[in-house]
């Protein structure tokens, strides 16, 4: 309907069409990684992923049966519940509390429920979109600058708690989603641009607040260029100026000299995996990154796109991107189908969440953005991520299926002239 494209929506079920190939590629890649020789027809890792897909589908059906509206009633409750859980996890940093899983790096992201650890930030993303949508649906004060304070406060709270974990990548997903929802709901563009401008101006301040490894991750986007590295090496004082106070000068120089072996290792290897795929790919369960299981850490997880691009090349990569594009477009389409303001914002919110998360993951994998731990929805191994993705999709389909008849103005259509008159 929008963009002049008519994609088959089929009461929302059309959304599942692009999800099926993406999930299949995920399971196939996990199978190739776990058992490249093909000794068993399904390795336990791939089996686990398949079960999560089925579990996710089940979860989606449950969401559909409940209906997004009924779930929406509880949105504020769920939001604050999730914030409470994140707070509980953050508490483990200071006092030892039960059920919190700690990674070998000291990151606290999981709560253990029985045998499975669950990543609360995935749940947070869903409840956050619902809560914002439910907050914005009958209001119009967000068209004033002051009215934006509450939505931003509601965003910064979970962001801060997720940043503490630490999981900066996931935390930063919240802002673009908020902007997309506010923009779709009709917030004034100059307000939003002012906020963006303020954030850009504040960025240099953040440079001195973040950890050494985060600085190096951000620098990595530029350091992957040999030309940039050469410039820094010929002008070492430029490089020294970026040094955090806690870092020894010699160590900092070494981070530049041995960049490819140190912080650049992951990026260089990921790019090599992608590039080595060429146009048609190395073939299923083929290629150096399948053969040696140490070349690319996190290859089944955050970097799974590199493995897809390596096995199926540019064609495989484009297929994956096309699938996500279709998902986002149909999601936006669903928003136009309903006249329920809450439903509209739910559809916009989840579509943009899906789009932003996918773009972030792809950018990280091919070196267009700093390395952050963001999964590729429906593909990366991991139950929390899959369950969350299917729940989002379930909510969007639910919006497409429940279209309450509402008498009144089309929501989010503001007449600027009338407003001026009223104001």
């Amino acid at each position: 309907m929008i963009l002049g494209l008519r994609l088959p929506t089929w009461h929302g079920w059309g959304l599942l069409l692009p999800i099926i190939p993406v999930c299949a590629l995920g399971i196939l890649t996990i199978e190739a990684i776990a058992d490249p020789a093909g000794t068993k027809w399904l390795s336990s890792e791939a089996f686990r992923q398949l079960s999560y897909v089925l579990l996710g589908t089940g979860g989606m059906l449950v969401v559909l049966a409940l209906g997004y509206h009924r779930i929406g009633h509880f949105a504020p409750l769920m939001f604050w519940g999730c914030v409470g859980l994140l707070f509980y996890i953050a508490l483990d940093r200071y006092v030892d509390v039960p059920l919190v899983e700690v990674s070998s790096y000291g990151a606290r992201r999981w709560i253990r429920l029985g045998p499975v650890p669950f990543q609360i930030s995935e749940l947070m993303k869903i409840t956050y979109v619902l809560a914002i949508a439910s907050y914005l649906r009958w209001r119009r004060n967000y068209r004033t600058f002051r009215g934006l304070v509450v939505p931003f406060a509601l965003t910064l709270l979970p962001m801060a708690l997720i940043k503490i974990q630490p999981d900066l990548g996931t935390a930063l997903l919240f802002l673009p989603v908020l902007f997309a929802m506010l923009f779709a709901a009709g917030a004034k563009v100059r307000h939003l641009l002012t906020i963006v401008l303020m954030a850009v101006l504040a960025m240099p301040l953040f440079w001195f607040k973040i950890e050494t490894y985060q600085r190096l991750r951000i620098s990595g986007v530029f350091l992957q260029s040999e030309w940039v590295r050469h410039q820094f090496e010929t002008h070492p004082h430029w490089w020294d100026r970026l040094r955090p106070a806690s870092e020894k000068a010699a160590d900092w120089r070494r981070e530049l000299q041995d960049w490819e072996q140190l912080k650049g290792y992951q990026l260089v290897h990921s790019k090599t995996a992608v590039g080595g795929g060429g146009i048609t790919g190395q073939g299923y369960a083929q290629g150096p990154f399948i053969e040696n299981d140490k070349l690319l850490p996190e290859r089944h997880n955050d970097f799974i796109f590199a493995m897809i691009a390596s096995q199926w090349g540019l064609l495989g990569g484009l297929l994956v991107m096309a699938c996500y594009a279709v998902m986002v477009i149909i999601g936006m389409d669903v928003a136009t189908l309903t006249r329920d303001p809450f439903g509209r914002l739910v559809a916009v919110g989840f579509s943009s969440l899906l789009g932003v998360q996918t773009l972030t993951n792809l950018c990280v994998t091919i070196g267009l953005g700093p390395v952050t731990g963001v999964t590729l929805p429906f593909v990366s191994a991991g139950g929390s991520s899959l369950l969350a993705s299917f729940t989002c999709i379930g909510l969007v389909i639910s919006v497409a299926q429940h279209r309450p008849v509402i008498f009144g103005n089309e929501p989010f259509y503001f007449d600027e002239e009338v407003e001026k008159y009223q104001g």
């Binding site: 009709g186 992608v274 590039g275 594009a325 986002v328 136009t336 773009l359």
Partner: protein, 679 residues
Amino acid sequence: MFERRLKILLIVLSVPAAAIVLRLVQLQVLEGESYAAAGKRMLARPPQYFPCLRGEIHDHEGRRLAYDAPAWDICVRYEALSGDSESLRLMARRMRLTATPAREQIDAGWQSIARLTETPIEELDDQAEVIRRRVRRIKQIVSNRRGIETPIEEEERAHAVVSGLDQNQQAVARVELAGYPWIEVVGAHARRYDGGESVGHLLGYLNEVSAADLEADPRRDDDLARYRDGDRRGIAGIEALGEQILRGRRGRRTERDTGVESIDPVEGGTFRLTIDLPLQQAVYERLAAAVKGIESATGGSAVILDVPSRQVLALVSYPGYDPNVTHAERVRLDADSKYRPLAFRAVAETYPPGSIAKPIVLAGALTSGIVTEGSSFTCSGQLFSGVADRWRCLGHHGDVSAVAAIQRSCNIYFYHVGQAMGVPNLASWMTHAGFDRPSGTGLIEEARGMLPRTDEPGPGDARNTAIGQGNVAVTPIQAANMIATIASGVYRPVTLWADDPQPRPAVPLTASRDALRAVRLGMYRAANEEHGTAYNHIHLTNTGDLVLLGKTGSAETGQGRVVEWIFDCRYADGSLDELVAANKTDLFLRYPRTRRAVEIKARSYQEFPTREMDPTHAWFAGYLTPQSRYLESSSGGRLNVAFAVLIEFGGRGGAVAAPVAGEIVQAMIDMQAHAGGPQ
């Protein structure tokens, strides 16, 4: 408006999407070829390393004291050590096992290792913990460097849990452990030592390198020579002294595009000592027999030096221990606080020298003109009439001259001398003879000894110092070198490493020729003439033209030793234990629960009977020199050796130490006669 805004949203999202597509085209189409080639290069196996043999330690005749012998290690794959079920499953797949081993099977294998090698299961657990900690540390370092959690090769490798199996043990182990595919028996090398108990302290031992060692490694920049995690280095005795010579260089095999580059391992160098093994063993036997024969004695030491070169021919401590002991056995030895078998008495323990300090004091006094050879003091058994319990002498020597004071070891004479010389002068002479300075062996165990502070001496300090008591303490090797200095008139640091490139300049003692002649005459009479303190205690045969000069010492040890302590142990739950043990090691061995104590305080055991006065340390220090010119400075020739013999808490120097010294000297003479032995 809403739809238009959604369109704008989609357009905004499509901008990064377009960038990604362009980037994919750049990486996969334009640069695809070079990335494919780079990927293949990344597949090249990391270099393989081959261990080198550690160098041998020889005695001065080339007899082998330490060497690397073929041996076998029992190795367990890390996945089984970590005990994590996920990694076990991965291991089963990597090893193509049909089923994932259950925890019971892992435990059964573990028990089998313990049974086969007769290793306590706790010790195996400790070793497993060491390995786990090491692998985790490596993983942490690699992950921190790369900024992302990185799997490492050590997580998928077998690690040695028991080392040094011999041919028979390894054959049995292979059969018994065949049912546990995650346990491997791997050929390796083990450090072996010849020479028995007499060289235990001397040779020292190896231990796994620590993080600090990796940091401080002088060859850190050489990939083939530097320490790697799990390497062993010498941390005591000669193994530590000769570490840089002995360690060698490992080999490496690297696969490159151009072919295989391989570098052979280079064996460590041989470290040759000045020690004579048969002499060392003979001295040890005599010393052992003597200490065992005296009830109060708790140990002993004997050091023999070649006078002109100051090469150490024997460096013996008793009780010793077999250098092939395991770490656990060494811990058990450490718990014996009475005999202290781990103490390297010859260089690491200091004792008051007692009367054997008198020769250097007299040489100083005569040279400084404080006394003359003819002048004498009267000895009535005590320095001050009316003070019977202090400043005593062991006899009523009457009028005592310089020579007689050495011969009969008269304390009264030396009280007067010391008082006249003063502490600074005494300390200066003693320093020139090697007291309170490094002896020259280079051993890290070496103690320096002590001299009284010269800045503010107390009233009795000079008198005490002159008879080698009070704040004077020396090691047996310093005592032997002092005697060699008297014998030759020259001070020189000792040499233990035969090929030591460090020059050892000889510093002439500033004593006058007459003073040294008087001292030597006193030492000659002490051993060979009536009224000599060692006369009749030493009977030598087949001496030929050699004569023995010497000085006895019975060094007072002051208050009794505390050989047992009361330990107050407090536990985390607030409970308390009050236990008696010799030291902390002993406490842990006797009461394993105390390892978990959060606080341990030691108190001395007041009621223990050894609070009473202990017997004296028995000393005898002397040298052999040609009879024809025994008053002159020795300058080599047959068996020109100086020595010191100490029996800890043995009693009188004359009655106890002198006979042992006599036996040792006799053994030396006999060995030399039979085989053209040392020198």
